[in-house]
Subunit: 344 residues, 2 copies
Amino acid sequence: MARVRLKDVAAACGVSPATVSLVLNEASDRIPATTIARVRAAADELGYTPNTVARSLRTRRTHTIGAVTDTLITTASSAPMVQGALDVAWRHDHLVLWLGTEDQPDHLRQAIASLVARQVDGFLVGAMYHRRLPFASLTQGIPTVGLNAVSDDPAAPCFVPDDFGAAHAAVRLLLDHGHRRIAHISEPHGDGLARQLRVDGFRAALSEAGLGEGRVLVPPHWHEGSGFAEELALRALDAPDRPTAIFAFNDIAAIGVYHAARRLGLSIPDDLSVVGFDDYVNVASELYPKLTTMALPHRRMGQLATEALLARLGVLDGEAPEGVTRVACPPVVRDSIAPPPRDR
Amino acid sequence: MARVRLKDVAAACGVSPATVSLVLNEASDRIPATTIARVRAAADELGYTPNTVARSLRTRRTHTIGAVTDTLITTASSAPMVQGALDVAWRHDHLVLWLGTEDQPDHLRQAIASLVARQVDGFLVGAMYHRRLPFASLTQGIPTVGLNAVSDDPAAPCFVPDDFGAAHAAVRLLLDHGHRRIAHISEPHGDGLARQLRVDGFRAALSEAGLGEGRVLVPPHWHEGSGFAEELALRALDAPDRPTAIFAFNDIAAIGVYHAARRLGLSIPDDLSVVGFDDYVNVASELYPKLTTMALPHRRMGQLATEALLARLGVLDGEAPEGVTRVACPPVVRDSIAPPPRDR
DNA sequence: TTGTATGCGTTATCAC
DNA sequence: GTGATAACGCATACAA
């Protein structure tokens, strides 16, 4: 019942353990085909699986990636990021030890330390929303890539959404439909980097179209749910010079806009066009009318970050990009945009 | 730059490696306090961290749990399950290697095999929706616990939602408000176990109330999104003897009911009460009116499963329960239930 | 071409 | 009380 070891395979086909090792690792090209076949057959028959911990001790490579992220649960969008990383790692014979820090102070440091003790080959340090995370000092020289997070080390490869570009594209979508009075509902100030980038993208698109600075509505402080956006939208839409389109910071804020429109008897998209951000599962696609929004490329980011890390580890060919890479956020066009109403 | 090893701290304080090991593992009570202090001090000063792979090779324990689940991404609810498992494992000095199989055939077997090669101490085999998963034969005698999945080995501990009880409770909620004509919108037949259990809970509650079998609406085949439920609800609500309340299989189906009500000019909850299931993030709480629903205890299940596994591994005291444990699904009461309209 | 010897960093079983 | 010493399972430089 005990697991079969290299030694057993060697004994079974009358060669030394060294030979078996050479054959199984394809480390020597000077072994006769007959022995190779014999060894392979024996290994197969006995069901030999190398003991990776012994191998790791010897090679100083665990083929394991340590991943540390803040809480996994608050945002539904985390799963694709994880899955993307898992996939790529698995495809290249690596496994990942995942740890959620739940944002407890000092937990990040502890988590990294315990992964260092496990001899992980590299680190993925991630955040569930795009922000700055000072991790360069913690990973003790082990190759590290930021995932949805920007490092304090400017050279560290980091993969984040292109919030600016996506906001710009979202506004262009509205402009192309003929809208001229477009407002942006933002989120409260915080440590997230997306807020400012989306505001900037919004403003850039408007200003390029010769429409000035644009109107940005910012809730005074953070609230759970769409309530804050609803209030903001209500006030903006109830005024004489109301916007014909709203670009919402995210899909939740867009829900607030929908609620406000309903309360005011405005029809989307006939009276008001709306664009969201994030493409939340079961949200954007289930609103009535279905919400046009910018998708966060979480899965792609997870894949890219892991590929970059594997490149730095030498298991993949090619160079890992230095510094921050912005990943495109594709638009998901649904039913919430139409040309603006003729007159008012 | 090289990491400091046990040998180094032994040399630093003039004792043998064996002694250091004994001290650091508190394995002997016959070591004088002075040596203990000396060793501790040296270890601290040098920043010694045990190499866990060497330790694992020796102790045959990796303090690592292998977790295999089908795809992580299709359901948003997966993250709490993962987080719950990670938390408990971490709290007891264990780490988890997570693998998503993406439902590719044979991938489950491969995933388990590669985790076995890593010498994981135990397995968590999970599904993202409650179903049967034949994994007992794959885990090669390594302790295994099912997470949202039922094993083919009746003795294997498995943790699943109490779908029957929750459906029963949901219907009781409606009955207590005075409803008598209650319909259930189910999902199409598939390999999920929740469907039948929720139907059974629905029927049991009605029959206990002397209301017969109840009306169960089943879509003929699977569709993405809420469309199927909308059609079903539309037909039921447009008939002369329409239900005053609908218990939906899940929150997505509940959205379909909302859409149908809107199209028919029925007001929720005044004309129609609705109860959902799953408590999807950003869905149930953002509908108008906010949806009353039964929460899936994903996080709790993740925790319980991991605790059971650790108990089987001897790192936690207590026994792991044998067989299937049903975990309660707490109701989340919001605004979608009211007494039925007086007459019609 | 294959086998022998040694080391990877621990823990554990002994003597001393 | 403490220190040699032998595993743990594998990889590899070198010898044969």
